[in-house]
Symmetry: D2
């Protein structure tokens, strides 16, 4: 079985996203200007996108690659495509 990918980078990013989410809550409580709040929501969303892409990359380089090398891989690719599909929409 392939070794699962290390998630150090994603964990660091997620802690930052958690901080951003808390910051947005504070901004709303302080009635800060909506456009400034929206900008922070956009930033948090982009950080989440980075996390998703990092996890995808790790998954392709470990599980999917392993399946492709040792079995036909088609099933793992389908599962990946469904995940990308859900993410994109």
């Amino acid at each position: 079985m392939p070794k699962p990918p290390k998630h150090t980078e994603s964990l660091t990013r997620l802690r930052k996203v958690e901080g951003q989410i808390k910051g947005i809550q504070r901004m709303l409580e302080e009635q800060r200007y909506c456009i400034d709040v929206l900008q922070q929501v956009t930033a948090a969303r982009r950080a989440l996108d980075e996390v998703a892409l990092t996890i995808m990359r790790g998954h392709i380089n470990s599980c999917v690659s392993h399946a492709i090398r040792h079995r036909d891989g088609a099933e793992k690719v389908e599962e990946l495509m469904r995940a990308i599909n859900r993410f994109v929409k």
Copy 2:
């Protein structure tokens, strides 16, 4: 000046997103299956989208509407479009 929109709904959602972000960190630490983690990242991202749309709606119904009624509003609409633009991309 228009009263700023209440953010009760967005605050409730953001607390839920914060919980989701913490949950994803736990999933990564427990080396859970990448596709399951991705599904949670997708869910958190969608919840953030809802927050953004709720804030946009509040902003249009308060600040932007106020500007349109009392001035020409074009500047506020431009500012809003830039925010939507950043969000969509």
Copy 3:
């Protein structure tokens, strides 16, 4: 009733998108490298995003502004939010 927005800019862009879509078809028929094809699909999608944002801006500056000035506008804002929502997802 408000004058509908002129769509010169969007029409120019859409003719360009039409050209891009035809170009992508040719690339697929010529079995061009998938990553290059994907890059063109991404470019066409971004051009479509620009069209959507331009139409939104025109709509807010004409119909939505008119409704806000002459009625309460809430209904038009809701309709707009539903359209943004469909577009974002």
Copy 4:
């Protein structure tokens, strides 16, 4: 070398997207209601997303799988991730 994926499905979809783009141009020329036009732009964008996902799937199942089986595949995975990244943003 891997056989390139057949693009029958994507070509059919792209011809449909081309028709949608032409339809949107007509709608703008006929000054149709902006929200209805936006709905068609959203539909065309989704159809383009489907094309992108189908091309990605074909690429993973052919080129990327081939690279993973016969070389280490890391380079092809990186190239794919960059393409997904550009597409998502």
